[in-house]
Each structure stands twice: as structure tokens, then as C-alpha cells.
């Protein structure tokens, strides 16, 4: 007798309704636990002056063997001081990068440009031509950047220095590249104030030997990383970060090698203080004190 072949049954779709019910419960629960921007804390030691005021004693004699490292920020420059001496001033040009609500794109102006625009009765302009709210434009500042300046004298207005950076996109700099000698790939910009990117400074090609300020980061640049690199004004924060790392390594044997005092003047924005604290922490200065300039 010929074997009767059984016709394959039409595949039945699994009952997905219970799984859907489970998902409907899980998604709102996870939604309530999701955080889209994470908060953290930066610990700080108490202000030096307040501590001195509390016990009205004369300050102790300075320890000649101590490093006594301080980092000062004024409206024009950053400077590192230690053992009563100071390194050369790192002059900067402050720039505000806004993220416009109208087009979600970044645009950078100097504070002077913004103030002049606001005084003329307008808000800073976005890339799409729309104006920001002249009362609330300050809430649209995404980054306060300090572009390093090359100066020949105190009176010289200076020219912007440019360097090579890694980038996560949108022409936003991330980590600065350094060469085998731990020097920046930096050049002074062209045009008035050096605001135009120097023609001689090219993006690194794939296979180029580069590093960042992070220890043991020397590597040959991968093609995808080379494509993402950008030429951008050198940040004064990065110059300070490099110097702080070098100082910490050089004076590692001193007792107060992990201490640093950040000194700022009254009108320094809080954001700048946090950026300096970040650089100090990255250079392994664990104990950060804050003090007032002239205080």
C-alpha cells in the first residue's frame, strides 16, 4: 500500500497577547526608571579664607619644601603658580557656544558680540536666521570655551591658536591630539585675530602616530578616527591640563603633591571653575581647595 503523505499543516502564529501584556507592564515601569541625563557630584574642600577667618590666627609660615600649587583664572588668562613663582600666563579669548532651540544647531559668538547684539535690542542669531530670546539667551549657552591666544606682549590683542582634536560629531572638539614629544599639533590662525583656520594645519591621516593627554594613549590613528578628527581652536583648558599632568608627575615625592588651590575672581562663571576642577582631578590632584583672587 502506498504510504499516504501527510500534507504539512499551515503554521500557526503563536499567541502573542500574553507577551504584549507583559511588555505593556514592563515599558511604563522602565520608563519611570530611565534617566536621560545623569547627574554626578564634584567634591571640594572648604575655602581657604573662610577657614582662616574662623580662628583669627596668623597663617602658618609657608613650608619651603611644599609645592603650594595654585591655579588662577582671571578674565583674560590662566596661570599656574608654585613655590612663590608663576608659569607664563595662558591667555584666552572667551567664546560662547549656543544650541539654538529653533534649529538645534550650534553657533559660537564672543561675549562682546552677544552683548552688542543685545544692547541693539536683538537676541543672538541662530544658523537658520532666527533670533534667540534676548532675555533668556543665556540658558541656550551649551559651552563656555576658552580659545588659547598667541601673544607677543601684554598690549598685543593676540591671535587664536588652532590644534587637532578628536570629535564625536557636529564639529565639537573632544580630546586634543599630541605628538610623540607630548606637544600639541598647534598653529596660529590666519586673518584678523587668528580666527581663520590655518591652511598649514591639516587633519591627521590614517596611520599617523598620535596620543591624547590621557596616559598611555599613544596609537596609530584608525581610518574611522582620522575621519572624525577636526581642526579647532586650541583650548586654554587643555594647555593647563597638560602642564598640571607634567607638574604632578615631576613632584610626585612631595607631601602636598595632591593639593591644588583654584583661585578665581568674583565674576568668573561657575562653569569655568568646574572645568578647571575637572582638569585638576584628571591630573590626579585629589584635594582641591577654592580661594578668591586677592582674598
Amino acid at each position: 500500500m502506498a504510504k499516504e503523505l501527510k500534507k504539512p499543516a499551515k503554521p500557526e502564529e503563536p499567541d502573542l497577547l500574553p507577551a504584549m501584556g507583559l511588555f505593556t507592564i514592563l515599558i511604563p515601569m522602565l520608563l519611570s526608571m530611565t534617566s536621560f541625563s545623569k547627574l554626578a557630584i564634584v567634591e571640594v574642600n572648604l575655602p581657604e579664607r573662610s577657614m582662616m577667618n574662623m580662628d583669627n590666627d596668623t597663617p602658618p609660615e609657608p613650608d619651603q619644601q611644599a609645592l603650594n600649587l595654585s591655579l588662577a583664572i582671571t578674565s583674560d588668562y590662566l596661570v599656574i603658580g608654585a613655590r612663590g613663582g608663576f608659569q607664563p600666563n595662558v591667555y584666552f579669548k572667551e567664546m560662547w557656544t549656543f544650541r539654538c532651540k529653533s534649529d538645534s544647531k550650534l553657533i559660537t559668538y564672543s561675549p562682546e558680540e552677544v552683548k552688542a547684539t543685545v544692547e541693539a535690542g536683538h537676541g543672538p542669531k541662530c544658523q537658520d536666521g532666527k533670533e534667540m530670546d534676548k532675555e533668556k539667551y543665556i540658558y541656550e549657552i551649551e559651552n563656555i570655551e576658552l580659545w588659547a591666544l598667541e601673544k607677543t606682549s601684554e598690549e598685543d590683542p593676540g591671535r587664536v591658536r588652532w590644534s587637532l582634536y578628536t570629535s564625536q560629531g557636529e564639529n565639537v572638539p573632544d580630546s586634543v591630539f599630541v605628538d610623540g614629544n607630548n606637544e600639541f599639533f598647534a598653529m596660529t590662525g590666519e586673518g584678523p585675530g587668528g580666527l581663520k583656520q590655518p591652511a598649514g594645519l591639516k587633519k591627521p591621516s590614517a596611520g599617523a602616530a598620535v596620543a591624547t593627554l590621557t596616559p598611555n594613549s599613544a596609537r596609530k590613528l584608525k581610518p574611522e578616527d582620522a575621519a572624525k578628527s577636526i581642526v579647532y581652536p586650541l583650548s586654554a583648558y587643555d594647555i593647563i591640563a597638560k602642564d598640571l599632568i607634567a607638574i604632578h608627575a615631576q613632584f610626585i615625592d612631595l607631601d602636598d603633591v595632591d593639593n591644588i588651590i583654584i583661585v578665581a575672581n568674583d565674576d568668573t562663571q561657575f562653569d569655568k571653575v568646574i572645568q578647571l576642577m575637572d582638569r585638576a582631578k584628571a591630573a590626579e590632584f585629589a584635594k582641591i581647595n577654592l580661594a578668591k583672587l586677592g582674598g
Binding site: 514592563l26 522602565l30 534617566s35 547627574l39 557630584i41 571640594v44 579664607r49 573662610s50
Partner: protein, 164 residues
Amino acid sequence: MARKSRKYGEDVPFSLTSMMDMMTIILVFMIKNMDAEGQLLTQAENLILPVSTSKVQPKGVSLTVVVDNNYVVVDNAKIVTTEDVLKQEDLLVTKVDSVLKERRQVEIDHNLAAGLPADEAGNIVVQIDKNIPYDAMYKVMATCGFAGYTNIAFAVMQKNGGEE
């Protein structure tokens, strides 16, 4: 030719497969972004915190002082205007100091009742708008120290949303 239309009475199977695909994607995204430890720190309104590379999380719930463009707020109560803090010459912000001292005393009493050491430094988290001048920040921080809150931490926003 007459158009053949589907009868209303015909049983059309309802396919949930595409809905399941969508739900699966959302679920994976949510699990990736889930913070199982919960938030010990929540951002106050009316201020933008500075972005930092710090990943340090607060160890416990602490008293929070907020300094925005308009007010200094202690535990959700507006104490003094930021403008007044900037105008004053003295380092000590007296109104904030008296509120903080009261809070500190409550904490000390609570510690004593619980048999914990009362002389431990108080913890405080200060949330300051990134555009606030250093002068205001310094006075508020010094006031916290005078009131016995010597373990001071600034709240910051993690760079790239905490992503590596």
C-alpha cells in the same frame, strides 16, 4: 468589472508581530538606560548645571542648596535673592546660615538619638547654575562651612549623559 469587496463578516487575523518588534526595541532601549540604583540627586528647576567628567555619585541623601539666577533655595524654600548675595560684602549669608544651622542641629539631635557620633561633618550638595558668578558660589559655600556642613559637593551633569 464589478469590484470585489471583502465581506464585513470575514474573520481577519490580527497580526501582533510588528507590534512585538516595536515593543522589543523599546524594551531593549529602556533596559539600556535604566538606572537600577535610583536617583539620589535630582536636578532643581530654573538652572543649568555645568557639564563635568566626574562620575562620582552621592553616597546618600543630603541636604541640597540651590543657587539659580534668582534665589538661593535651601531644601525647596527660597531664602534670599541671588542679587542680595552678590551685593553684600560679608562672606557669611546670614539668612542662609540660620536656616542651615537649624537643619544641622536637627541632624545632630537625630544622630545622638540614634547613638551615632554627633561631631561628624555634615554633608551638603550645592546645585549652582553654570553662569552664576564665583562670588555668589563662594559666599554660599563658605556659609555652608560656617554652619557645620563641611563635606561640600557640587552637583554636575555628566559629560555625554554618562555614556563612555
